[in-house]
Each structure stands twice: as structure tokens, then as C-alpha cells.
């Protein structure tokens, strides 16, 4: 999947959008983004990366300093937020505390001048969708966080907007409930065929739910792709480190040949890697490899790259064990080993053979990422 969306397929399009709050620095530097009809798009990034600002500009609570935003071909810049017909779910639920659940859901419908029986029917249907039929006459304060968030979800959907925005909607829930709600939101999206723009800083959430994820950093989209592409083929070291677990090896480019390049590590070994984002010979690079792509001892024999590593620590996770290794003088190199494949004779301090395929290690820019 690339970024070459045909314009007719796009429900929302950002063109050259910039946003500054103080006139000195840009919180959104330059945004060109097409959101496809029916798509679940997640804006992922650390706080301050501009993702929420993008969402707020789309909702109409912030105005772009420059550029234009279109919804269904219509220019949104001068449409006030209450006329955009976009559903929105907030992190703190924002259910009106002085109204019952049913009144909360009826609110957007009453504004659209529907008659009473139609409102009642729609409210019932929306509550059924989030499995809260029995709680229509409760007040939000009498419900749990998870229930409140479902009501908020139902309220954002009840007036059948074609676009729903979600601003970290699961941020206030505990882990188990969050995972449950992720699936529920995903299913609702699949059933209704609406377009969802979802903002989160939780990469697990982004990978689970989205059709595409846009990774934000410093007001710029670093990469926008499907979850598996982001994970397997990050285009720069920020994305590689932000999405999932990642091992980084620093080195210097010695030879670039087609899709591959040779990188010399500080310890002198030369590693063959996929050349994704490297400069000329002699320039520094950081290579990225996922922990599950590293093979050990016997399994490493068939690999294009083989190095010696010192076993520094075992970390037990139940279904698998992580080994912390020192590789080529660089510490903190993690390898995931399923419990069944663990050799009981290994001890800390042992020297192991580690190996990986050249296609699995990606030579990227040398940006030093702090965790």
C-alpha cells in the first residue's frame, strides 16, 4: 500500500496544512493527507507531535494557519464546527452529566429536528449496538468508565455522520478493558462502514485497529502505511523505534550496492543490510532489526550475517524468554526465544552465535533516538 490515493476515493484531504499557535514555531509543519472513504486511519505519535492538532483542525476547533482541508470535496476552512456533521469521541467521554444516557443520545437527533418516535428508535438501536440497552435511564455518573465510553461512542454514531473522530478514546481505561474496547470499536467500524480517524499515542492500539497508521513526529507524517508494513518496513529509525520492539546497531556505510549495503560496526565486523535510508560511503547509519528476526547458535548457521554475542541477562515472560545480549560491543540487544527453543545449558556470560538475514536488517538514518 502506498500513498497514491486517487482523489475521488478520498473523503478527507489535507493540502499543505500548517498550524502555529505562537507565530514562531509550527506545531504542524506540512500536512498532505488523504483519508479514504470507509477507512480506519490512526494518527500515531508522541505527545506534541501534532496529531491532536490535526484532528482538532478537522473537527473545526482549531483553524489551519495555512493550507486547506476538504471533506467530501467541500472546503472546510470556513465551515463552523457545528455545521461539519462529524462525530467525535473524547478521552474524558464528555457525556453531559445532567442528562441520562438516552437524553445524551437524543441530543444530536433533537437538533436535527427528528420526530420523537424516530429519535426513540435510533437511540434504542445505538444503545443496542454498544450493548447497553438496559442502561438508557442511568446518568453518566452512575456508570463505569467503559460503559461511559461506549455511550460516548454511540452518541458520536447515532446521527450517522460519515466521519467519526476519536481523540485517545481509550486512554482513561485499564489495559484489559482497553483491549476489549479496541476490538469492539473495530467491529463497529467494519459493520457500519463509516470513516474513522483515531488519535492515539499507544502503538499497540494503532496496530490492532487501523487500516492505515500515520506516524507523526515534530508536525510531520514520518510514514503512513498499513500496520504490517509499518512494522516490517519502517522507512526511518524513528518509525522503527516507535513501532514495536527494535534492536539498533550503529555503524558506518562502507559500500552501497543496489538494494543492499555493507555496514562496518564499531568493533570492525561488516554487516550486510537492506539499504533503505542511507547516505554515501563513510556516513553513519543505524540498522534496525526486530528481536524475533534474530536467530541463535544452530539456527544462525544459515544466515548471511553472523556475529558473536555475550549473554547478559534472561528475562522471563511466561510464553517466551528474552535474552539481553552484548553484540559487537553494543549492549541492550534483545532476542525473543520461545520457551520450547531455550537451551537449558545457557548461562549469563556465555558466548552465543547470533545471525540474521540481510533482508531483515534495515539500514536507516543515523538519528539517535532516545527512549
Amino acid at each position: 500500500m502506498g500513498n497514491s490515493t486517487p482523489a475521488s476515493d478520498a473523503l478527507v484531504s489535507f493540502r499543505g496544512v500548517q498550524k502555529s499557535y505562537d507565530g514562531e514555531s509550527l506545531i504542524v509543519k506540512h500536512l498532505d493527507l488523504d483519508i479514504r472513504r470507509g477507512e480506519f486511519l490512526t494518527m500515531l505519535g508522541p505527545s506534541g507531535s501534532g496529531k491532536t492538532t490535526c484532528l482538532m483542525m478537522l473537527a473545526g476547533f482549531e483553524t489551519p494557519t495555512h493550507g486547506e482541508i476538504r471533506l467530501d470535496g467541500q472546503l472546510l476552512n470556513n465551515v463552523p464546527p457545528h455545521k461539519r456533521n462529524i462525530g467525535m469521541v473524547f478521552q474524558n467521554y464528555a457525556l453531559f452529566p445532567h442528562m441520562t444516557v438516552a437524553e445524551n443520545l437524543a441530543y444530536p437527533l433533537t437538533l436535527r429536528k427528528m420526530n420523537k418516535s424516530e429519535i426513540a428508535e435510533r437511540v434504542k438501536k445505538a444503545l443496542g449496538m454498544v450493548k447497553l440497552d438496559a442502561l438508557a435511564h442511568r446518568y453518566p455518573g452512575q456508570m463505569s468508565g467503559g460503559q461511559q465510553q461506549r455511550v460516548a461512542l454511540a452518541r458520536a454514531l447515532v446521527f450517522e455522520p460519515q466521519l467519526v473522530l476519536m481523540d485517545e478514546p481509550l486512554g482513561a481505561l485499564d489495559k484489559q478493558l482497553r483491549e476489549h474496547m479496541q476490538l469492539e470499536i473495530k467491529h463497529i467500524h467494519e459493520n457500519l462502514g463509516i470513516t474513522v480517524v483515531y488519535v492515539t499515542h499507544d502503538q499497540g492500539e494503532a496496530l490492532t485497529m487501523s487500516d492505515r497508521v500515520a506516524v507523526f513526529k515534530d508536525g510531520v507524517i514520518q510514514q503512513i502505511d498499513a500496520a504490517n508494513v509499518l512494522y516490517e518496513a519502517p522507512v526511518n529509525s524513528f518509525v522503527a523505534n516507535f513501532i514495536g520492539e527494535n534492536n539498533t546497531l550503529h555503524g558506518e556505510v562502507v559500500d552501497v550496492a543496489g538494494q543492499h549495503c555493507a555496514v562496518r560496526l564499531a568493533s570492525g565486523e561488516v554487516v550486510k543490510a537492506s539499504a533503505i535510508c542511507v547516505g554515501r560511503n563513510g556516513e553513519p547509519t543505524s540498522m534496525s532489526i526486530r528481536p524475533e528476526r534474530v536467530r541463535l547458535n544452530r539456527l544462525a548457521e544459515a544466515c548471511e550475517n553472523r556475529l558473536k554475542a555475550k549473554l547478559a541477562e534472561f528475562i522471563y515472560f511466561g510464553d517466551h524468554v528474552r535474552l539481553r545480549l552484548d553484540v559487537a560491543g553494543q549492549s541492550g540487544f534483545m532476542v525473543k526465544v520461545p520457551v520450547g527453543e531455550l537451551d537449558s545449558s545457557w548461562k549469563t556470560g556465555d558466548m552465543l552465535d547470533v545471525g540474521w538475514m540481510a533482508r531483515d536488517i534495515r539500514a536507516l538514518d543515523s538519528a539517535i533516538v532516545s527512549h
Binding site: F61, H82, F90, N92, A94
Partner: protein, 420 residues
Amino acid sequence: MSETMTMNAPLTAADGESLKVKLARERRNKQLKAIALVAPLALFLLLTFLVPIAMLLKRSVDNPEVITYLPQTSAAIAGWDRRGLPSETVFAAMARDLTVAKEQKTVPEISKRLNMDISGFRSLIQRSARKMPLELAPGESVRDHFIAIDERWGDPDHWHVIAKNAKSWTPYYLYSAMDLRETKAGTPELAPEEERAFLSIFGRTLWMSMWITLFSVLLGYPVAYWLANLPARKSNLLMILVLLPFWTSVLVRVASWIVLLQQEGLINSALMGLGIIGEPLQLAFNRTGVYIAMVHILLPFVILPAYSVMKSIPPTYMRAAISLGDHPFAAFWKIYFPQTVAGVAAGALLVFIMCMGYYITPALLGGPQEQMVSYYVAFYTNVTINWGMAAALGSLLLVATMTLYAVYSKLVGANKLSLG
């Protein structure tokens, strides 16, 4: 085996004592500790707050003069059938009581109290007391002698007043404070129109308090909203400005308002200097002045609770309502405002109650038509030394305030009031 034991017998701790007993002791210890911590304040409040209020309430119905200083008459007149004049025994008792009163110099106390019911009673008692002890001619009746001293003794009305006051309590002060008077039958009736005063004073107190509360809410609400939506650093600075008046004495603030508002004051001279008005506006020593100064003094009491409530409303509520399609103004009214009612209502109630008892501002900045109940409480306490009247007015003010609070909490819901 031990399991079956615990199933049937009460649970015991390791040392064999009943768990229930142990728990109860633990709880009692905690309670005692809590009581010990609260006790000093509770005692202080009891002595400085509850006891004075109880004494005030008692004072408003207290009627010790006649029964203390005319004890024999009080006892004798109890048997009077209230028709015609009392019997010879009552006159004789009165003669003895007045003799004692003359010796003990308590005549003024008696005459002052009785004079409240019928004016002229003072001179009657004083003149009669001067003639004590009686020097009766043989065979002369005491009654005739009294009537000879002053023919008013022959008027049953005067004896009715004595009989009425021969009890240790009286509704007289409370009735007077409500413009009522006691008929001979003992039932209350409305005093004739020219004698009424306090109903209109109570009405004026409520009316003025209502307007001051209304102005305070109308002016305070937008300020509180503004403060709640400013960045913290700016709002803290402005909050100091709101609180600044609290650091100055009320007296000083009222005095400054006099300087500003009077005929030759700053405002009038400025307006005249600018040519906006031809002659000075009457701003002080009338209702306008009282309203201006009292709204100024009481405004923070609305702003603070309203601010604290508004501060706790996240902006996402409004955003949610707008995203659902509501116009921002309508959303404010339907979503934001209802959530602030608790705080605003608490502030308004506070202002209203404080207004009801306000004294200094109307006294200094108002004319005679702006004086509220508390002014008359002060008047009776300091000027006429009629503590019964002062206490009755105070008690009625207390009752009015509590009634209003009850009605208010019924309407708004006391549990919903939030003072921040």
C-alpha cells in the same frame, strides 16, 4: 473440628475474646479520638454561637418585669375573671408590691415595661408608688383609694395589661416585630395601618437583598467564566484583584464609596466636567448608593464558588455539544450553564443571606428608606435599650433566613449546592 466450632459459636480472636467485642472496642477508641479532636472547636462554638442564639431566642419572649417586681399582684390577679375591676385583694397586693418596689427602687423597671402596652402607664405607676405605703382611713377600701390617687386605676384596660404581663413569657415583642398586636382575647390581629412599620421593613430587606443578589450574579457570572477559561498564570493574577477588596475593611470601602458617589464626589465631578450631565446625580444616601456598594462588597462571594465550579468543567463538554451539531450559544445554555447552576446558586444564597443581615453599608450609604432589619436591631439595642424588641427582630430574621434556605434547598437541592 475447629471449623465446625467457628460455624456455630461466635468468632473469637486468638486470645479467646469475641471478635465482635474487640471490633466494637476498636471502633469506640477511634470515635473517642475523633471527639477529642473536635471537642475544643465544638465547645467554642457552643459558647460563642449556640448559647448566644438560644439566649437571643429566649430574650424575644422573655417577660420578667411584672412577675418579678409585682409578685403578689401577679399571684392575686391570676384569679381575676377579667370582667369589671379586679377584687380588693388584687388592689391590696398591688399596694404591698409598690411599697416594696419603692423601697428597692425598681419602680422604673415596672413602669417602663407596662408603658409599652399603654402609654401613660409610666406616670400612673410612678405617681402611685410615690403615695406608698397607703394610709387608709378606717373602713376605706384599697380600690377606692387607688382610684382616688389616679382615676385610671378604675379603667379595666390597665388591669388587663398587668394580668397579661403577669407571666414569665410574652408574645408581645414577636407580635410587635410583625406589626401584630394582642387582642383582649389573647389572639393576634394586625395593628392599624398607621402603627405598622416592621412588615414593610422586612419586605424592604428581602426586596433589596433580592436585587443585590441578582446584580451580583449578573455581574459575577461572566467574570467567573472569563477567569475559569484564562490560562492559569493570568487567571491567578486576576483572581488576586477579585480578592483584593477582602483585604480592606468594609468600613473603609463604604467610606471610599461615599467619597466617590456623593454630590461633589469624583463621579459627579467627572461627569459634570465632561459635560455629560448638567447637575449632580443623586448617587449616595439613597438606594442606588446602597446597591452599588453592596454589590461591590458581595461580588466575590458569587465569583468564587462559580469560578471553582466552572474550573472543574472540562472544555470537551462544549466541544462535544458543538460537534453533535449545536450552535455554540445554544450549547452554552444547554450544556455548560446547567453544570454551573450548583456553584452560582451557592454563591447567590451566600450573598442573599449576607444581605439580609447587612448593617453597615445601608446605615452609612443609605437614607431612612434604605434601612434594613439589622438597623432596627441595632437601634433597639443601642438607643432605646429594648432588648426584647431587638431579640424579636433578630429571631425573625433568623427564621426568615432559615425558611429561605429550606425553600432554596428544596428548589435547587442542598446536596447539589457547591461552595467550591
